[in-house]
C-alpha cells in the first residue's frame, strides 16, 4: 500500500505536479505511518523564520532581478570589451567573463541568456565567429558563474549543509572562497577551446584605447562597486552574508531607479513580484523539505544509503565517478534549487563517510548541475536559448555539445583535485 502511494507520488511529480506538494504528501505519509501529528509539517515550515541566513535569498534575488531589467548587461559588455577586446579570442573570453559575473548576481534563472545572449550572440556573429559556435557559446554561458559569489545555489547549498551538519562545520564564506578557482578554471578552459576552435578563422581585433576604457569606466562607475561590496564585505568579515545582501539590494535599487533611471517606479512592483514568486517557490520547497529531511534522518535513510553504497563501492574515487554521473543526470532533469534541497541532505552524510570535504562536495555538486542546465534532452537553458534565438532545439543541442565536453573535462579536474577548491580555506 505504502509502496503504491510512493509510486503514485513519483508519477505525479514526473507529470509536473508542483514539487512542494509532492514533498508535503511524502512527509505527511511518513509522519502518518510513524503516528506523529501532521501539524509537525507546519512547525518545520515555520523554521524558515528561525534561520537568519535565509534573508540573503530574497535580497540577492531582488537585486539580481533589478540588474536583469536595467541596462547593466550592456554596460558590462562595453566595459569588458574595452579592456579585453584587443586579445585574440578576446570577444569569446569577454562573453564568458561577463556571463559568469552576471549569472553570479542574477542567479541562473535563464536571465543571462535572455539579457546577455541578446547582446553577445549578434556581436559574436558580426565579429566573424561561426553561427553554431556563437549559439553554443551563449547557451553554455547561461549557467557559467554558479560557483562565484553571491550565487543563490551556492548560498542555498551552504544553508542546507549548515542545517544538518553535525560535526562538520561549513560556512558560506568558505563556499564563496572555494568556488573562485574552479570557476576561473572553467572560464580559462572554455576560452582556450574557443581560441583553438577558431584558429583557422581570423577574428579582427579591436585596438586597445585608453580613451575607450575611461569612457566605459565612467559609464559603469556606479555598478563597479557592487562586486566590491560582496567580495570585500564578506571576505574581510565586515559584513555577514545577509548584511551584504541587504546593502546590495538597497544599493542596486537606488542606483538603477534613481541614478541611471532605467527602471521607473511604476515598474518596481512588477519586478518585486516576479522576483518574490521565484523566492517563494524556493522557500516553500525548502520549508517543506525541512520536515521531510527530518523524517528521513529519523529513519536513518542516509546511513542505510551509505551501507548500500559501501557494499558496491569501496573507494572514494569510484564513489566520486558515480557521483558525477548521477549529478549530471539529476541536473538535466531537476531544477538546481530543488536538486540541492532534496539531494544534499541525503548525499552529504554519505560523502562525508567517504571522506569528501563538505565544501568540496558543494563545488562538485554545483559544477555538475551547471552542465545539467544544457544537457539534452531537457536542460532548461536549451529551451530558453531555442526560444530566445528562434532556433530549433536540435540545432541548440548540436551547438552546445563541444562546450559541454570542455566543461565536463573541467568538472573532472575539479572533482579529482580537491585542493583547487580547498586551498583558500584552512
Amino acid at each position: 500500500m505504502t509502496l503504491a502511494i510512493i509510486g503514485i507520488l513519483i508519477l505525479l511529480a514526473l507529470l509536473g505536479a508542483p514539487l512542494f506538494t509532492v514533498i508535503i504528501a511524502a512527509a505527511m505519509l511518513g509522519f502518518h505511518l510513524s503516528e506523529i501529528d501532521l501539524s509537525v509539517v507546519a512547525i518545520e515550515l515555520y523554521r524558515i523564520a528561525d534561520t537568519p541566513i535565509l534573508l540573503a535569498l530574497p535580497l540577492f534575488t531582488f537585486a539580481g532581478y533589478i540588474l536583469g531589467e536595467s541596462n547593466t548587461s550592456k554596460r558590462l559588455v562595453r566595459l569588458t570589451q574595452a579592456f579585453l577586446g584587443w586579445m585574440s579570442g578576446g570577444l569569446a573570453m569577454i562573453a564568458f567573463v561577463v556571463c559568469a559575473l552576471f549569472t553570479a548576481f542574477t542567479g541562473a534563472s535563464g536571465v543571462t541568456i535572455v539579457a546577455m545572449g541578446a547582446l553577445l550572440y549578434p556581436a559574436l556573429t558580426r565579429a566573424g565567429y561561426p553561427d553554431r559556435f556563437s549559439l553554443g557559446l551563449v547557451t553554455t554561458s547561461g549557467s557559467l558563474g554558479l560557483l562565484l559569489p553571491p550565487s543563490l545555489p551556492l548560498i542555498l547549498y551552504g544553508i542546507i549543509a549548515q542545517q544538518m551538519s553535525d560535526g562538520a562545520q561549513i560556512s558560506i564564506e568558505d563556499l564563496f572562497l572555494a568556488g573562485i578557482f574552479p570557476a576561473l578554471l572553467m572560464i580559462t578552459m572554455l576560452s582556450a577551446w574557443s581560441v583553438w576552435a577558431n584558429r583557422a578563422n581570423p577574428i579582427p581585433l579591436t585596438r586597445f584605447s585608453l580613451k575607450n576604457c575611461r569612457a566605459a569606466l565612467r559609464e559603469s562607475i556606479w555598478e563597479i562597486p557592487l562586486p566590491l561590496f560582496v567580495f570585500t564585505g564578506i571576505y574581510s568579515g565586515y559584513f555577514a552574508v545577509s548584511e551584504a545582501a541587504a546593502v546590495t539590494a538597497m544599493y542596486v535599487l537606488i542606483v538603477e531607479v534613481f541614478v541611471y533611471r532605467e527602471i521607473s517606479l511604476g515598474r518596481l512592483p512588477g519586478i518585486i513580484r516576479e522576483s518574490m514568486v521565484m523566492v517563494g517557490g524556493i522557500l516553500l520547497i525548502l520549508g517543506v523539505s525541512l520536515a521531510f529531511t527530518n523524517f528521513l534522518i529519523d529513519a536513518e535513510a542516509p546511513m542505510k544509503l551509505f551501507d548500500i553504497c559501501q557494499s558496491f563501492v569501496s573507494s572514494k574515487l569510484v564513489f566520486l565517478i558515480l557521483l558525477n554521473v548521477f549529478l549530471l543526470i539529476l541536473g538535466a532533469m531537476l531544477d538546481i534549487f530543488s536538486a540541492i534541497i532534496i539531494m544534499v541532505p541525503l548525499m552529504l552524510p554519505v560523502a562525508l563517510e567517504y571522506g569528501v570535504h563538505p565544501v568540496h562536495l558543494g563545488i562538485i555538486f554545483l559544477a555538475n548541475m551547471q552542465i545539467g542546465y544544457f544537457t539534452p534532452p531537457v536542460g532548461m537553458n536549451l529551451f530558453i536559448a531555442g526560444y530566445r534565438f528562434k532556433k530549433p532545439i536540435v540545432d541548440i543541442y548540436r551547438a552546445t555539445i563541444p562546450f559541454m565536453l570542455v566543461l565536463f573535462l573541467s568538472v573532472l579536474v575539479i572533482t579529482y583535485w580537491p585542493a583547487l577548491s580547498l586551498f583558500l580555506i584552512s
Binding site: 509536473g16 523564520a49 559584513f239 518585486i272 517557490g281
Partner: protein, 170 residues
Amino acid sequence: MGRPISNTAMLIRLATIFQKIEDAILVSLMLAMISLAVFQIFLRNFFDAGIVWADPLVRVLVLWIGLIGAMAASRTNNHISIDVISRFLPESVKRFTRLLIYLFTAGVTALMAWHSFRFVAMERADGITAFANVPAWVCEAIIPVAFAIISVRYILFFFQQLIDNIRQTP
C-alpha cells in the same frame, strides 16, 4: 441566460482586485524588509546599537514574503516542478494529466492548510510571544492562510480544466 456571464465577469474582477491587494502587501513587506535590514546595519556600525525586535521581525518577514510569493506563483500554476514527461505528451493526454495534478495539488494544500491551522490554534492557546509583544500565532497565521488560498486557486484551475475538457469532447 445573461446572469452566468455577469457572474463570471464579477468573479474575474474580484480576482483582479484580490491580486492587486496581494501585490501591494508583497511590495510593502519587501521594501520594509530591505529598509529594516539596512537600518540595522547602519545603527550597528555608526551607533553601535540596534533595535532588539528588528532581527526576529525581519526573519518573520522572510517567511511572509516567501509564502505570499508562493501564493502569487499559484496564480499561473508557476511552481517549481519536474517537467520531464509532460513536455513530450500530446495535448489530448495532457488535458487529463493536468486535471489530475490540479486535484492533487488542491487536496494536499487543503490538508496542509488544515493542519497548519491546528498548529496556529495550539500556539494561540499556549499564549507564546514571538518578539516584543507580538504573539507567535500572529506570525504563524500566514501559513494556513497561504495554503488555503493556494488550494482555492487550484480548485478553480481544476474546474476550469474540467469545463474545457467537456467543451473539447463533442
